[in-house]
Subunit: 139 residues, 3 copies
């Protein structure tokens, strides 16, 4: 069994953002040399998501609007977590809705994806350096 590990780094200029990381993950897969296996991608932070969906700016706008309506950033004092001095309680909720991780099949040395599947890093408390872990096991 082969195993591979890499950290990817992202820093968004805005509090919330969606970044297509598919190309970076594909580079990891090529480096790993794994032909058949499973690939795990997850943020190493708890106010961010890795998820698989469409690379369409209108949709990302809809996600942003929907999530902000579901769990608004303000008023800050609405959330007890923010009594600790944080202002990111909403980001912890948004991350749960969008999920933490993606697990992807590797077949024939490629991400085993349908036509429109793309991997995104979803940031909900950005403007800081963040890490995304890629772990691959297989043969």
């Amino acid at each position: 069994m082969k195993s591979y590990r890499k950290e990817l780094f992202y820093k968004t200029k805005t509090r919330r953002a969606f970044i297509n990381i598919t190309r970076d993950v594909k580079k990891c897969l090529a480096e790993s040399g794994v032909q058949e296996g499973l690939l795990l991608v997850n943020p190493m932070h708890i106010t961010a998501s890795v998820f698989i969906n469409d690379d369409e700016p209108g949709l990302h706008h809809d996600y942003e609007k929907w999530l902000e309506q579901a769990a608004p950033h303000e008023p800050i004092e609405h959330y007890r977590h923010n009594d600790t001095g944080e202002d990111n309680a909403d980001a912890h909720i948004k991350r749960q809705i969008m999920g933490r991780e993606a697990v992807v099949a590797i077949s024939g040395g490629r991400l085993d994806f349908g036509t429109w599947e793309q991997i995104f890093y979803g940031e909900f408390d950005g403007r800081r350096n963040k890490r995304v872990l890629v772990k691959i096991i297989g043969e």
Copy 2:
């Protein structure tokens, strides 16, 4: 290490539907011959979910109602994604809430499930041919 891959095919008559695919996944597992390992099931589409829950029609009705309230299909023009000519922005949101994939333990050649765990394909933009990927690795 053994690895196995299969695509399952589903086409729903309605826009939204939940299909119990446990039997189909079990057939894959039997074909794979894997005794100990992990099994990944995911739609190869981005307006559908694979999830694990109860095979109870009342619950599926509740899911349908709750999701439609959380992210209504109409008005279509409420979503910027639909400016592209699509009408399925709500389906992309519903899929995020319900999740993309299920990862299941395989122990002793069986899906390592509790009493009530069943695998569902959740369709949110149906009436078209859709694919579900089953990937198994183990020994």
Copy 3:
């Protein structure tokens, strides 16, 4: 390839609760002897979640409040699932929002976590004995 399986047991005193199970999962990892691989943790029940987030009581209060607002327990008769005699339809919805399982990378014999990542069992229909499955594969 090594594989390892263990069931953990939890019983909450309240209907809903979040339990930090990181220590228990780490014990499983140590027992398994796996150095490089993947670890799956999931409830064997369909009204509970395993998820990764922050061990901060204020945040857990916010999750509880937010989930209860999103899918209230009462009125019981609001949900068709509860016509079966159950009163836990809301718990099936809460579990979908929070997710079923966590998949964690194992690197150098350790859970490959960022600073604040902790594993939680999220109970939404407690006061009964419940099982959580830990499955590890790797080398």
